[in-house]
């Protein structure tokens, strides 16, 4: 195992002031356990302070650092240099912003625009089940939670949306649908009809072609396609049913 690698990073740049897009090549020598966010920081410190990129938690928990590396959407804070070299079989990496919303600058996309699709499905409990008479918090048993616990791990990194064969034109996208499905499977949620209407609308699950790319790229290893298929199967009831 090599200690250091000579890497070539071809980064897609965009300057909003001049509206110019270009690819910029950086050569750097990096240790094998550096992550890609560390490489971006290294570029900022040693070569080009102007390169813009996003991150927050840097522990795979917030979803803000997602980019496409050699075409694969993933979290830049999770990918180690040695793993990238092994996975892609190269030391040259082309890095692009996710294609889920307009680019603000370089690798930074307008995440608020991307989030609009998630907002559409109201990713919170719309109408909560009544609390117990003693006023205790509603508790969910592990058995109740088991069928959908994996889906609750979504961090809205939009990697799945970026990989999806259905693109992003008028389609809610896998993570937004997943957010709604989580609430449909949540015993605390009483408002199912409104959710099903959105899910079964022209922008919803009927636009999914079961290409499984979402499940393949999800950094949280959520089988997104499985949850979407549950909706297609009619597991959560129909939009016209009585409350």
């Amino acid at each position: 195992m090599e200690e250091n690698y000579d890497l070539t990073l071809i980064i897609h740049r965009y300057d909003p002031d001049t509206k110019r897009s270009w690819k910029q090549t950086y050569h750097l020598n990096a240790g094998r356990i550096l992550r890609f966010v560390d490489l971006f920081r290294k570029i900022n410190e040693e070569e080009d302070p102007g390169l813009a990129w996003n991150s927050s938690c840097e522990h795979g928990q917030c979803g803000s650092c997602s980019v496409k590396i050699n075409g694969k959407p993933l979290l830049a804070c999770e990918l180690l240099v040695e793993n990238a070299v092994e996975y892609f079989g190269t030391t040259t990496f082309e890095i692009e912003p996710l294609n889920v919303a307009p680019v603000i600058r370089d690798l930074v996309t307008d995440i608020e625009k991307a989030y609009k699709r998630v907002d559409k499905v109201k990713p919170y409990i719309i109408q909560s089940a009544p609390l117990s008479e003693k006023g205790e918090a509603y508790s969910i048993t592990p058995d109740e939670m088991a069928p959908y616990i994996n889906a609750t791990r979504c961090i809205n990194c939009f990697c799945c949306a970026s990989a999806c064969i259905s693109s992003h034109r008028g389609f809610l996208g896998p993570n937004a649908m997943l957010a709604s499905i989580v609430r449909l499977m949540d015993p605390r949620e009483m408002e199912k009809i409104e959710r099903l209407r959105v899910l079964y609308s022209d922008q919803g699950v009927c636009r999914c072609h079961s290409s499984h790319a979402c499940s393949f790229v999800c950094p949280k290893e959520i089988d997104v396609a499985h949850f979407i298929a549950l909706a297609k199967e009619g597991r959560f009831g129909s939009k016209s049913q009585k409350k």
Binding site: P73, I165, C206, H209, H212, V217, K232, G234
Partner: protein, 276 residues
């Protein structure tokens, strides 16, 4: 199935690494997974089949003038066309079986997708091989009524199962009809291909075709084929178009154009079936 699966697994171990090195496939297999590549092949073959079906209905429309039909059909006896007709079995069986795999995954909860993909490839290879054999033999006789009665009875099974499973879900009606027509075509189109190659005259000689179409049941089956295939193809095209057209008016315009083309071809097909 265990032996077949192990043979397919071995083949797969030999083929996949090689396939994964081919230019376009290598990018998508590694970044989106094999089912994504298969989804693209499904799309591509679907578009190809829609084009073929429209061409097929167009050539059949020459049946109105039998002499002209026989003249045109002479071209299809050349080796190259026979080869192309055989190769047509590849998109047909792949699209049919992959479509059924999707229905099994989406509506029947079959989650062993890798296993299903292996089986679909195995059955596809076997079908294409047997169709080739059929074509080489080329002198089988069976009455059309017997063949199509049997096929129809078999085709009713997936239609019944799929309809029962999906009809009460909240999915849009258009989507449901796409699946139901798909279930019918899953059996009837590969069977149609087999039937057409039982004997060269079945599809190439106007008097044989016209005589077959005098039977009411055959007419009914042919009409069901035309309507199902055009609806299925039209909905598929629209689903692809929607992935690229963001604006609602553009989507509506596209839906109108596709509906118009499909209706015109359905009209040509049905008129032909009822009048020859």
């Amino acid at each position: 199935m265990a032996i077949t699966d192990s043979v397919i697994k071995r083949l797969e171990m030999w083929i996949l690494p090689r396939l994964a090195q081919t230019p376009v496939v290598s990018i998508y297999a590694g970044t989106r997974g094999w089912p994504f590549v298969i989804a693209w092949i499904h799309r591509f073959f679907g578009i190809l089949l829609v084009i073929y079906v429209l061409f097929h209905i167009y050539t059949l429309s020459f049946l109105e003038t039998p002499a002209l039909f026989d003249h045109k059909m002479k071209f299809f006896r050349f080796f190259l066309f026979v080869l192309l007709e055989w190769l047509l079995a590849i998109p047909v069986i792949f699209h049919a079986l992959n479509g059924s795999r999707l229905v099994l995954y989406e509506s029947f909860g079959f989650r062993k997708d890798g296993l299903m993909i292996r089986r679909l490839l195995g059955i596809s290879v076997a079908y294409v091989f047997f169709l080739g054999l059929w074509m080489l033999l080329g002198n089988q006789t069976v009455t059309p009524l017997f063949f199509w009665l049997t096929v129809s009875i078999i085709a009713v099974i997936p239609v019944y199962l799929v309809t029962g499973k999906i009809w009460k879900t909240g999915m849009p009606v258009g989507w449901k009809l796409q699946r139901i027509t798909g279930a019918f075509l899953l059996i009837s189109i590969p069977a149609h291909l087999l039937f057409m190659h039982l004997h060269p005259s079945i599809g190439h000689e106007s008097d044989v075709v016209i005589q077959r179409m005098q039977n009411t049941f055959i007419r009914f089956v042919d009409m069901a084929l035309v309507v199902s295939v055009l609806y299925h193809g039209g909905y598929g095209l629209l689903a692809i178009a929607k992935d690229y057209l963001e604006s609602k008016p553009l989507q509506t315009a596209c839906a109108a154009i596709i509906s118009l083309v499909m209706t015109v071809f359905a009209w040509i097909g049905i008129r032909l079936i009822l009048t020859v």
